[in-house]
Structures are given as structure tokens and as C-alpha cells.
């Protein structure tokens, strides 16, 4: 009995700690500051950036290009740590809940649903992006850049790069590329076990493009609409169910993530894989994972194009430095370097017409990738991202209606 008493006291203690009311952090009034003042306040600090570290090329770009650059220009020590999506959200969430004075993370690489979640828990600092001088070069009118999953970015995140989803196929095996939904179905039926998609981010993005193809881009634009979702997703799942038994492993199991799917593709078990990054196929060939026969394409029903962004946590103690670094990351030089297929191959968010003439010249002369079609071609089939709730609902329903059947 006595133990019970102690236990209940302990619970009480912890709940007190857990339920502590949030104190308001000291807010920075940006409107009073000039960029020069930001530069002055942001110099010579240590900065910790959390990002997805799943690609050696991206890591090398950050390590060998951005890091030395900000060190030289502003004497900022940029530390890059691994973490994305939910790890990131959980971290910031716990910090807010624990009411710490300063966050461990000063800069985050986010998009879509992570942005949505961070906004939900009010974890981001802002609005601030207008302050950064290089933001003027960004084409915010482009809906693929200015809107993140149909959400206004409202100055809380800075566009950094832009990519489009592609299907990657083995050109040795596949000659007639399926271009429409029905062609895909026919193809998969006649080549069972060679096609699948993962049940995480990339797979969901693929399903979204199918959903858009079913409904039409305009139908699903704007905020989440539950009725429309019910209506069109029913068709989507009907289609997927038709597909299911011809997928890899008869659709009883789906690859855990795109990395696993790449491996299956590389080993020859699959004829298709996919990537949210249109430059991925060239990257993976140069890494030695894919053979030279791997090609990327975008089917006629289109694929989603989206941007990825940079944000600053509200509790960061180095918000000025973070702004300086982000401003450098969207500089024409940095963006140009990032575009090179051998560096990263990430699409730029700057609009070329706003650049200087010499820069424009360089822009035109960037070397093209070899195994994926050029940006200008796939751009025509680009679909806009849907509101984040679509993805959340799709993920849940996919579990229920496909995985657990």
C-alpha cells in the first residue's frame, strides 16, 4: 500500500513537470532591423542544422561547399546533424513542451507535412524571409515554389530547391513505357511482380499523383476537402486494388522506404523504382548502385513537383546567424553549384530572369543530366502538391484498405 502512495506522488510530480505552462520566449522585432544589423548580430556563431542525410552527394555539397563558405564569409560554424520529418518534429515539440530556453536546432530542412506540423505546434520563427536580400531573386509567384503543399509559406520558410518526381525504369527490360493509368495497369498485369511503390513518402507522393489524375488538378486544389477526398480516393483504392495482386510480392508487402526499393531495383528484382528527386537516377548510377540502363521518365498522367525549404525554429538562440546562412544557401552561386548533376542536380528556386546577365549565361550552360529527361520536358507534366491532410488521410487509408487486407 505504501508503495502505491509513493507511486501516486511520483505521478503527481511528473505531471506537474509535464504540464508546466509555456513561458513566452523573447520575441525578435525584425521590422526594426536592417540587414546590416542582422549581419552584425549573426556573425561568428555556432549553428546547428538538422537535415535528412540520406544522400552522399547532398552531404558532400553541404560539407564541402556551404560549410566552408559561411565559415569564410561570416565566421559561422555550421554543424550538420541528421534528422528529418518526425524526428525533427518530435525534437522541437519536446523542447517547446519542456519549455527550454534555447533549442538545440537552429536551422531545419523541411517541406510539406513537416512544415504543416511545425506550424501546427508553432515551432517556427517568422515571418522573416523578406529580410534576406537573395529572397528577391526567388520566383514566389510560381505555385510550385511559393506554395508548400497548398499552404502559404507566410514568410516562415525559405524555398531552397525544387524537384519533380520521376519513375525510374530498367531500359533493358522495359521498352513500352506505361503513360496512363490504364497502360500502367495493363503493363503490371503482363509483368507481374516487377512494379511496386514504398509505403512512405515517395510512395504516397506517387499515389497522390494518381489521385490528382483521377480527380483533376483543379478539383483538389486549395484546402483539404473531406467529401472530395472520400469520393476520389474510393476510385484510387479501387484502382490500387486492381493493381495489387500484380505488384511485387502480390502486393502483400511493400518496400519500407525508397532506399529499399532502390536496392530491389538495383538487384533486378524490380523493373521500376521512383524518386522525388528527378536527378536521382544519375546520382545512383554514378554511385555504382544502378547500372547505366536505368532511366527516369514522367508518365503522361504527370507527377508531383514540389519544393523543399529551410526554416528556423522559434526557440533557436541563433536566429540571425541562421538567416545569414539561409541567405547564402539561396545565393545564385550556391544555387548554380547545386544544380550541377555531378554535385546534386537539385532544381533551383531562383527565377533566371531576375539574375545578372553573366549569371543567366551560366544558368543556360549548366551541364544536363544524361539519364533523366530535361527539366523543361518534365515540367509540362508537373502536378501541384495537395494540402497536407490528403497525405495524412492517404497514409492512414492505405494502411487500412491495402496493407491490412
Amino acid at each position: 500500500m505504501r508503495i502505491l502512495k509513493y507511486i501516486s506522488r511520483l505521478i503527481l510530480l511528473f505531471s506537474l513537470v509535464a504540464c508546466q505552462a509555456d513561458r513566452e520566449p523573447q520575441a525578435i522585432d525584425l521590422s526594426q532591423l536592417s540587414w546590416d544589423q542582422v549581419v552584425e548580430k549573426g556573425q561568428s556563431q555556432k549553428l546547428s542544422m538538422m537535415m535528412w542525410k540520406g544522400d552522399p552527394k547532398i552531404n558532400a555539397y553541404m560539407q564541402n561547399y556551404i560549410k566552408p563558405h559561411v565559415k569564410e564569409k561570416y565566421n559561422i560554424e555550421l554543424e550538420i546533424v541528421s534528422g528529418q520529418g518526425n524526428t525533427l518534429v518530435q525534437s522541437l515539440m519536446n523542447e517547446i513542451q519542456a519549455d527550454v530556453d534555447q533549442s538545440q536546432i537552429d536551422l531545419v530542412w523541411i517541406n510539406g507535412e513537416t512544415f504543416y506540423q511545425l506550424r501546427q505546434i508553432d515551432a517556427l520563427f517568422g515571418p522573416w524571409i523578406d529580410k534576406a536580400p537573395h529572397a528577391k531573386l526567388i520566383d514566389f509567384d510560381n505555385p510550385f515554389i511559393g506554395k508548400d503543399f497548398q499552404q502559404d509559406i507566410e514568410g516562415y520558410e525559405m524555398p531552397w530547391g525544387n524537384v519533380q518526381m520521376t519513375l525510374i525504369y530498367n531500359s533493358d527490360q522495359v521498352q513500352d513505357l506505361p503513360q496512363t493509368r490504364s497502360e500502367l495497369l495493363t503493363f503490371v498485369k503482363s509483368h507481374p511482380g516487377k512494379f511496386t511503390f514504398d509505403h512512405h513518402f515517395t510512395g504516397l507522393t506517387f499515389m497522390k499523383s494518381l489521385l490528382i489524375d483521377i480527380a483533376g488538378q483543379e478539383e483538389l486544389a486549395g484546402d483539404f476537402d473531406a467529401d472530395k477526398y472520400e469520393k476520389f480516393s474510393a476510385d484510387l483504392f479501387a484502382y490500387l486494388n486492381k493493381l495489387k495482386s500484380y505488384l511485387w510480392r502480390k502486393g502483400e508487402v511493400f518496400p519500407e522506404d525508397v532506399a529499399q526499393m532502390h536496392q530491389l531495383f538495383a538487384a533486378g528484382e524490380l523493373w521500376f523504382t521512383m524518386s522525388n528527386n528527378d536527378a536521382e537516377v544519375d546520382n545512383k548510377i554514378s554511385e555504382g548502385l544502378f547500372t547505366k540502363d536505368a532511366r527516369a521518365y514522367v508518365p503522361d498522367f504527370g507527377s508531383i513537383q514540389n519544393s523543399h525549404y529551410l526554416g528556423i525554429p522559434r526557440k533557436s538562440a541563433h536566429q540571425y546567424s541562421a538567416m545569414l546562412v539561409i541567405n547564402e544557401m539561396i545565393s545564385p552561386a550556391a544555387q548554380l553549384h547545386k544544380m550541377q548533376p555531378e554535385v546534386w542536380g537539385d532544381g533551383s528556386v531562383l527565377s533566371p530572369e531576375k539574375l545578372s546577365e553573366t549569371m543567366q549565361e551560366k544558368w543556360k550552360n549548366t551541364r544536363m543530366r544524361t539519364n533523366a529527361p530535361p527539366r523543361s520536358v518534365i515540367q509540362k507534366k508537373a502536378l501541384q502538391e495537395l494540402a497536407p491532410e490528403y497525405m495524412i488521410r492517404l497514409a492512414d487509408d492505405f494502411q487500412e484498405k491495402i496493407l491490412q487486407q
Binding site: 518526425n86 513542451q97 506540423q117 508487402v253 491490412q404
Partner: protein, 289 residues
């Protein structure tokens, strides 16, 4: 007995605190979260996460599946270890043999899972060899050994990870308890070898290794990296399921993950208490009979 002095008492308190406080803090946090009492997105006290989770058939399936995988893996490992200890008793004197058995202890679960993936999957080494030897004519005819419905890949990895440990462990008990002598005594008293094995050796081994066996069942039940790589989404083991729920796109799913973690904890506790009281008595009766 000399009475415990105050230092000893203090150390005992430290021990209890070191164990209880962190674990308890975690549980309390999970409990509060699952009841909607804490968390940034909560609307206050609610039982909806609990009722949702309790009615979730797939959670129960996951728990059952995890338990089954764990029991089978540990049982197989135990059998292999027993076989090696009983049949190759003399080999344990040899240096190379002993050294050999220690090597697999150096493999983390991830590496072992990665290896099993590269060797036993449809596009793995075995499948390729079978193809070269003409046993299969295309990749699909190789049996599903990884990401399969029965968790074969997971069990294979778990057995590879666990059996060397069991072998060394059983061997130690075997030596320490002089089981061979007991067996001989029993036989000299007229017991048949088989009878002596079941009634004496096995019963004693089981008594001594019971807690380790339970520990390993729990260890396998809670494994994360292995099913992540070699499992499938349905049936799915419980830890990846919990982490999956906690890391899904839907922040409102997090409390459910905590509920699942708590239910899992409760069942494991139940398992432990069952094993520690009921089973001992059961076996005691048997050996005394």
C-alpha cells in the same frame, strides 16, 4: 546476519531510484500522453485513444505475431544450443571451437539483418546460386524468405543472433552444475538415458536458464531494426508498429502509439510474472515427482 549499515541502505535506494525513476518517468509520460493530459495538441482528458487502440485488431495481431516470432526463435536457438552442448561436448575444449562461437556475438542486429537480406532475399546470394545451378528458372520461383508472411527472415536473423549466446550459456550451466554427473547418477539408479535426459538434465538446465530465456523472448519481441528490414507491414511486429504510429504524418496518432507502448509493457510484465511463479512451480512439481 549483520544488519545492513546506512551506506548499504543508501546504495540500495540509489539502485531503486536509478531503475525506477527513468522507467517510471517514461511510463508516466506515456500514460499522461495517452490520456490526453499532456502534449502540445491535446484537448484535455480523453479515453478515445485507449478505446481506439484497444479495439484495433491489428495491434493485437502485432503483439501476437511478435510473441510467436520470439517464442519460436528462442525455442529454436535453445534447441540448437542444446544439441551443440550435448552432442559436441568435447569440442568445447578446443580453442578454435570456443573462439568460433564467440564471433557471432559481435554482430549487431542491423548487420545481421542486412546480411540475411543480401543472402536469403529473392535477389540474394542463395537465389542467384539456385539460378546458376538451374534449380529455379526465374527470380519469382525462389521462395519468400524475407519480408514474408510467416516472419521466416526475422526468425532466421534472431536465431543467428541468439543461438551462440545460448550455446555458451548452456555450456556454462552444464559445467557448473556437473550435469553429466547427474545424468550418470540417474542412469546408475536405473533411469534410461532418455528418461535421465528429460527428467534431470533438461529440467535442471531449464531451471537455471529460465530467466535468460524469458529475457531473450522479450529481447526478440522488442526488436526493431530486424523486422524493419526483413518484416512486412501485415503482420507487423509491435515495436516497428509503435514507432510507425509515433512517427506517422499524423501528429494526432502519437497518443495511440503511447497507448500501444503501455499495453505492450503490461503484457510483457504479465508474461514475466507468469514465467517466474507458475512455471517454476510447475517444473518443481515435475522434478520432485
Amino acid at each position: 546476519m549483520r544488519k545492513a549499515n546506512s551506506l548499504t541502505k543508501f546504495l540500495r535506494l540509489i539502485y531503486v531510484l536509478l531503475i525506477v525513476v527513468p522507467t517510471f518517468a517514461g511510463f508516466t509520460y506515456a500514460l499522461l500522453h495517452s490520456l490526453g493530459l499532456t502534449g502540445l495538441l491535446t484537448d484535455g482528458l480523453t479515453l478515445k485513444y485507449w478505446s481506439e487502440a484497444l479495439r484495433d485488431f491489428y495491434m493485437w495481431k502485432s503483439i501476437g505475431f511478435s510473441f510467436l516470432i520470439a517464442v519460436i526463435s528462442v525455442f529454436l536457438s535453445f534447441c540448437i544450443a542444446l544439441f551443440l552442448v550435448l552432442k559436441l561436448t568435447d569440442d568445447f575444449q578446443k580453442k578454435w571451437f570456443h573462439r568460433l562461437l564467440f564471433l557471432p556475438l559481435c554482430f549487431p542486429a542491423t548487420v545481421m539483418a542486412f546480411y540475411v537480406m543480401q543472402t536469403f532475399s529473392k535477389s540474394g546470394f542463395l537465389s542467384r546460386l539456385s539460378f546458376q545451378f538451374g534449380w529455379i528458372d526465374h527470380i519469382e520461383s525462389f521462395p519468400e524468405l524475407t519480408n514474408d508472411a510467416y516472419g521466416i527472415g526475422i526468425m532466421l536473423t534472431s536465431v543467428l543472433l541468439v543461438f551462440p549466446f545460448f550455446t555458451l550459456f548452456l555450456k556454462n550451466i552444464f559445467d557448473a552444475e556437473r550435469l553429466q554427473d547427474y545424468g550418470l547418477i540417474a542412469q546408475s539408479l536405473g533411469a534410461k538415458p532418455r528418461h535421465a535426459f528429460w527428467k534431470i538434465s533438461l529440467a535442471l538446465l531449464w531451471q537455471k536458464s529460465k530467466s535468460t530465456v524469458v529475457l531473450y523472448i522479450i529481447f526478440v519481441m522488442g526488436s526493431y531494426e530486424v523486422p524493419l528490414l526483413l518484416g512486412r507491414q501485415n503482420p507487423q511486429m509491435i515495436t516497428p508498429r509503435i514507432v510507425d504510429k509515433a512517427q506517422r504524418f499524423n501528429l494526432h496518432d502519437i497518443p495511440q502509439a503511447y497507448v500501444m507502448a503501455l499495453i505492450y509493457l503490461f503484457l510483457v510484465l504479465l508474461l514475466i510474472s507468469l514465467m517466474s511463479t507458475r512455471f517454476v512451480q510447475f517444473f518443481k512439481k515435475k522434478t520432485h515427482a
